[in-house]
């Protein structure tokens, strides 16, 4: 959910929108925001499934240190979505285990 109105920060200013594809579905995002933020705005909180125990993981540190938020981005596994900005046409996939390399864009 987006924080549209804020008592200190004011109204969320309109920014250029881009469309990314998340697990095959189009998702609208604001240019420059981290992938993770665009996903949270849509209520998506599971970023990956662990290799051994198949457990879900999501946002934990939000500053690129813990790697719990990694996903397969444009065919590249283990991309930290909390510090990687979205870009038009980006493909993002929930990472299974260590992730599979796909066709890079």
């Amino acid at each position: 959910m987006r924080v549209l109105d804020h008592p200190i920060l004011g109204r969320l200013e309109a920014r250029r929108k881009v469309t990314i594809t998340v697990d095959g579905q189009p998702v609208e995002a604001f240019e420059g925001e981290p992938i993770l933020a665009a996903l949270l705005a849509k209520g998506i909180r599971v970023n990956r499934i662990t290799k051994k125990r198949h457990e879900p993981r999501g946002l934990f540190c939000g500053i690129g240190r813990c790697t719990d938020c990694v996903m397969v981005v444009n065919g590249v596994p283990n991309v930290r979505t909390c510090v990687t900005p979205v870009a038009e046409g980006m493909t993002v996939e929930t990472q299974q285990g260590l992730g599979k390399w796909g066709k890079a864009k």
Partner: protein, 362 residues
């Protein structure tokens, strides 16, 4: 290879202040940061600082960050962003990794202003999506303007826990409670009062036992503690989709360790911190420290330490006369002493003195 007089790692409040002072003295300064923009954690601090007037009381972190960034830019500080410093060689070469490859910066002096990271603690279900650092939630709401969840349990009543609780409310979330393992509230009374006035209960002598839900958090089990042990029969399940952990910070001293700086374990400062003297110089000549990396405190103290390190580094290069340096450093020390007064500051003041005593002995 880039060359500079002073290379500073970390562009948060300490690093920016150090850069400004060193550049003002005439040094060629390179400021390295792993993020896409400078400011560190200041940009998510939307509350007003308090304390004395010289200490930006009434100023919000975001405004201060803008001011410091602008000043650094006007003084010609060279920003090297998107660059994570991963090593220091020979006490004078900083190696960093960027999306385009590796860079090296050689300089006469290095200032480490790498900050701190959030602590965590484990309980059943703590790895589920929905359990996160309070700082992570703060980054999402204040910087990226998205809510990580809508009903929140805050674990920890230190200043971070209290401030982030209030900011979550401002962002439109519900905080069902702040829980605290100690029998008393950890943070400032002003913050606690604000949270309570907003209707959020602060439950002392309480902890979280479990985060439940599949695949994400949908509730949490909390219980009362007696002398840190769970009291049987007091467990209750609260409906929340998010559990925020505000259980302290640990200094990011890896680079100092690697460079061979002596570190000391001082719990009041957050763990192992590099030893330094009154000039903020570590036990390795030419390497200085400032801010949370050498003791978790606040943005205002980080700025003063940054100033000290910047002035000292420039003075050691002969860019300031000893008298000038002395005068500026004395002023910064006076401001620091004022910031470290009061029940919260005293413990840190004592720990800092101990740290510097070790520095002198070594």
């Amino acid at each position: 290879m880039t060359r500079s007089d002073v290379t500073i790692i970390g562009a948060g409040p300490a690093g920016l202040a150090a850069a400004i002072e060193a550049a003002r003295a005439g040094a060629k300064v390179v400021l390295v940061d792993e993020n896409a923009r400078p400011g560190g954690q200041l940009f998510k601090q939307i509350h007003k600082f308090f304390g004395s007037r010289e200490h930006f009381a009434g100023t919000r972190g975001i405004d201060l960050a803008r001011k410091l960034c602008q000043e650094a830019q006007e003084l010609g500080v060279q920003l090297v962003l998107d660059t994570a410093a991963f090593a220091i060689y020979d006490g004078r070469i900083v190696a960093g990794t960027t999306p385009k490859g590796t860079v090296q910066i050689e300089s006469e002096r290095i200032i480490l202003a790498t900050g701190a990271m959030e602590n965590t603690f484990s309980f059943k279900g703590w790895t589920k999506p929905g359990v996160m650092g309070a700082g992570a939630a703060q980054t999402m709401i204040n910087l990226h303007r998205v809510l990580p969840g809508s009903r929140i349990l805050m674990v920890g009543s230190g200043n971070v826990g209290l401030i982030v609780t209030y900011q979550l409310l401002q962002a439109g979330a519900d905080v069902v409670a702040v829980i605290e393992a100690l029998p008393k509230i950890g943070g400032y009374a002003v913050h606690a009062a604000k949270v309570r006035r907003a209707g959020v209960p602060i439950l002392t002598s309480h902890t979280v036992l479990e985060a439940k839900g599949e695949p994400e958090v949908s509730s949490a089990v909390i219980c009362q503690l007696d002398d840190f042990k769970p009291v049987a029969g007091t467990e209750r399940e609260v409906e929340v989709d998010t559990v925020c952990l505000a259980v302290g910070l640990t200094p990011l001293a890896e680079l100092a360790w690697m460079a061979g700086c002596q570190c000391e374990y001082l719990p009041a400062l957050g763990g192992f911190v590099p030893v330094h003297d009154e000039r903020m110089e570590t036990t390795v000549k030419g390497i200085f420290v400032a801010g949370d990396v050498t003791g978790v405190e606040e943005a205002s103290t980080a700025i003063e330490e940054g100033r000290l390190a910047g002035i000292a580094a420039a003075a050691s290069l002969g860019l300031l006369s000893p008298d000038e340096a002395e005068e500026r450093m004395t002023a910064a020390w006076e401001r620091l002493a004022a910031l470290r007064m009061g029940p919260f500051g005293e413990g840190r003041q004592a720990a800092k003195e101990q740290l510097m005593k070790v520095g002198k002995a070594g």
